[in-house]
């Protein structure tokens, strides 16, 4: 059973229990018609172009990006790009993400991180909460502030 980390701590993953499905990107075309978007999560590989997914944004409630190793930082850039090109749904990092990366993940656009029970035991909730994004200590927020795009 996976653990979901959010800004308010650990949660059991209830996505599938609530009837949600995870669908691989490569199978998505075949299944999509029969699925309700609000029950559909899209699993993408971490070498996919975010721009190739724009047509699917309205068909899914969640996109899940894998971290095969915490040292593989591609997921951060994919998340950032998805947000930049207008994806507003739920965004989940999945796999080997460590507590020390939680702030990075959140700042890049992830809403939550899905980790194994083993990792959750080794790095309990308080270690993740200690690494909430600290906007007041972000040089990037100071130097390259985001334009308000959604006011229009």
């Amino acid at each position: 059973m996976s653990i979901i980390v959010r800004d308010d701590g650990f949660h059991k993953d209830s996505w599938e229990a609530d009837g949600g499905l995870f669908i691989d990107l490569e199978k998505f075309g075949q299944d999509v018609a029969s699925k309700a978007p609000d029950k559909t999560a899209l699993d993408i590989p971490n070498d996919v172009s975010a721009h190739s997914l724009t047509g699917l944004f309205n068909n899914v409630a969640m996109i899940r990006i894998p971290f095969p190793s915490f040292a593989d930082g591609r997921g951060f850039s994919i998340a950032k790009q998805l947000r930049q090109i207008g994806y507003e749904g739920r965004l989940r990092a999945f796999g080997h993400v460590i507590a020390d990366q939680y702030g990075f993940a959140r700042t890049c656009g992830f809403d939550e991180v899905e980790i194994s029970e083993e990792l959750a035991e080794r790095q309990p909730q308080e270690q993740w909460l200690a690494r909430l994004p600290k906007d007041n200590l972000s040089y990037q927020k100071k130097l390259l502030a985001e334009r308000e795009m959604r006011n229009a």
Partner: protein
């Protein structure tokens, strides 16, 4: 020079707290060794051959006396009383204990310093021309840009886990002293036809096992576009750089395999997005940084030229020092002094705590409280009044710091090699020391003239051997050290990768081999003014190969 504001202070202290917690979490098992490794690396902590090594950032090589004194203090309190200045304008301590490192980082924060991103697969300490803000040939001081990049790269959420390390260098002068063409990104400050300031952006340079001269991504990037453009390069690299093979993971390989034209288009596409979505740093913010790099108010009183001339006349050592270690300043009353950390037979780049204090005191008394670390592992006093030069020399001489060899054959770069480094395949420092001893006569060195020898103790090329006029690469051949020689390398604006001369030499043979190259050069040069590199470019490798391998002639 740049002074921390409250934000900078808070950022660095928070980072120390985080690292302190990470050390504790490693000890209690929350972090595995694999997980801890990149975290300690991005805080400057390596595990070397015999001990931990802490690499402290000296952003763009600029220091004041208080900081230099603190580096001396740290070396005595937590290390063995010396430090090693590196080719990345940093300082390394070779013997810290893991438990002390958070305290060392706090001591650094006390003087507005840190060790953040001096290692790891992230954007490393940004380097710049070591004569920045002082050189007569400078168009514009590169340090405000370097500081802007330092801030932008600090803890960048997207770019802490890149395929590999990422180094940026910047120069504001036409004479490239920052080796910009051998960095992941090299920036040269230029002006366009309307005299607007901007950058030439070079990507994909690097040394290591696949040396490459960087390629121009943009001829002219307006100054205000810098951060969105660099952000674009990094995003393209993070997504597309190879992660299947550590040795092919640098951006130079991506440039090579993708082609600069395609990559340029990819960068431009992301750049447009970045530019549309982000507000670049405000003019006030940029101006506030620039204001901190204004030159000091120079003493405009007339220079006692007679005093200086008399000192040169009466002391041949000082005369030699003036010839090699003193460079032209943009202010005619002042000069730039390079303090050589290459005493004859010494370890290139090492300075004791006492020597650091002498240099700090000299900076305070004679150099408007400024010091620089050069990538050639020397220390610079950037602004010294010309009639103070005799006193400065005298004080340096007393401290064993007056070696008049800057730019000469014994002013070598050498990586730590097998004496310290876990990656090394051969010794570097002892080779440098023996070459230094073989050419110890200062007069003979001055006669040989400008010659850069650079020594690496493994294929990763930390000693920059590829861009040495004479490069030496130490390898391990079936358990025996073997030294390969490259010739004709050049790290300046005319950057060239040196060519391999032929089969390697044993440890015992390498110094005589270097001597044969130098003897041949002296024989065949067209007058004493033709430098080694000029001779090499005129005649090619052949005469030197014949000198190196006489048995094959």
């Amino acid at each position: 020079m740049y002074e921390y504001n409250q934000f900078d202070h808070d950022f660095v202290r928070n980072r120390v707290r985080e690292f302190r917690a990470q050390v504790e979490r490693r000890l209690d098992g929350s972090l595995t060794e694999d997980e801890f490794k990149p975290l300690r690396l991005m805080n400057g902590l390596y595990l070397q051959l015999h001990a931990y090594m802490l690499r402290v950032a000296v952003p763009y090589g600029t220091l004041n006396s208080r900081q230099m004194n603190q580096l001396a203090y740290i070396s005595e309190k937590w290390d063995k009383g010396y430090g090693h200045f590196t080719t990345r304008q940093n300082i390394q301590y070779n013997w810290p204990k893991l438990k002390d490192v958070p305290d060392i980082l706090d001591a650094l924060a006390d003087v507005e310093m840190h060790a953040i991103q001096t290692s790891g697969n992230c954007v490393r300490n940004v380097t710049a021309d070591h004569f920045a803000g002082a050189a007569a040939d400078e168009i514009e001081d590169p340090r405000p840009t370097a500081e802007l990049l330092r801030q932008w790269s600090m803890d960048h959420p997207e770019f802490q886990f890149l395929p590999r390390k990422f180094k940026i260098a910047i120069t504001g002068a036409p004479n490239d002293r920052a080796v910009t063409k051998a960095h992941d990104i090299g920036l040269r400050m230029v002006r366009n036809e309307n005299d607007e300031p901007g950058y030439e952006v070079i990507v994909g340079g690097g040394l290591g096992r696949t040396p490459m001269v960087g390629k121009v991504a943009r001829d002219f990037l307006p100054k205000a576009d810098l951060l969105p453009y660099v952000e674009a390069i990094l995003q393209v690299y993070n997504l597309n750089g190879r992660r299947d093979n550590k040795f092919k993971a640098r951006i130079k390989i991506l440039v090579h395999e993708t082609g600069i034209e395609t990559l340029r288009e990819m960068i431009e596409e992301v750049f447009e997005t970045q530019k549309a979505l982000h507000i670049p740093p405000s003019e006030e913010m940029v101006k506030a940084i620039e204001a901190q790099f204004q030159p000091p108010e120079f003493d405009a009183g007339p220079v006692d030229e007679e005093k200086l001339a008399a000192a040169i006349e009466s002391d041949p050592l000082f005369k030699s020092f003036m010839e090699t270690n003193v460079h032209e300043h943009f202010d005619p009353n002042h000069a730039i002094v390079t303090i050589s950390l290459k005493p004859i037979g010494g370890t290139p780049g090492d300075a004791t705590a006492d020597q650091m204090r002498v240099m700090a005191n000299l900076a305070e008394a004679y150099a408007y409280d400024e010091l620089r670390v050069s990538h050639e592992q020397n220390i610079i006093l950037p602004h010294v009044r010309r009639d103070d030069l005799p006193e400065v020399f005298e004080r340096l001489r007393e401290a064993g710091l007056a070696t008049a060899n800057v730019g000469l054959i014994t002013d070598m770069i050498a990586c730590p090699g097998m004496d310290y480094c876990a990656l090394a395949t051969a010794r570097s420092i002892p080779v440098a020391q023996e070459i230094s001893n073989a050419f110890e006569d200062i007069k003979a060195q001055h006669d040989i003239g400008p010659l850069k020898i650079k020594i690496s103790g493994c294929i990763n090329a930390c000693g920059h051997h590829h861009v040495g006029h004479i490069g030496i690469l130490g390898l391990d051949k079936a358990g025996v050290e073997s030294y390969q020689i490259t010739l004709g390398g050049d790290g300046t604006e005319t950057a060239t990768i040196g060519e391999r001369a032929g089969p390697g030499f044993s440890y015992e043979e390498i110094v005589p081999a270097i001597q044969r190259i130098v003897e041949r050069y002296v024989e065949i040069r067209e007058g004493v003014d033709e430098t080694f590199l000029e001779t090499y470019r005129r005649v090619g490798a052949e005469p030197f190969k014949n000198a190196l391998y006489p048995e094959t002639v």
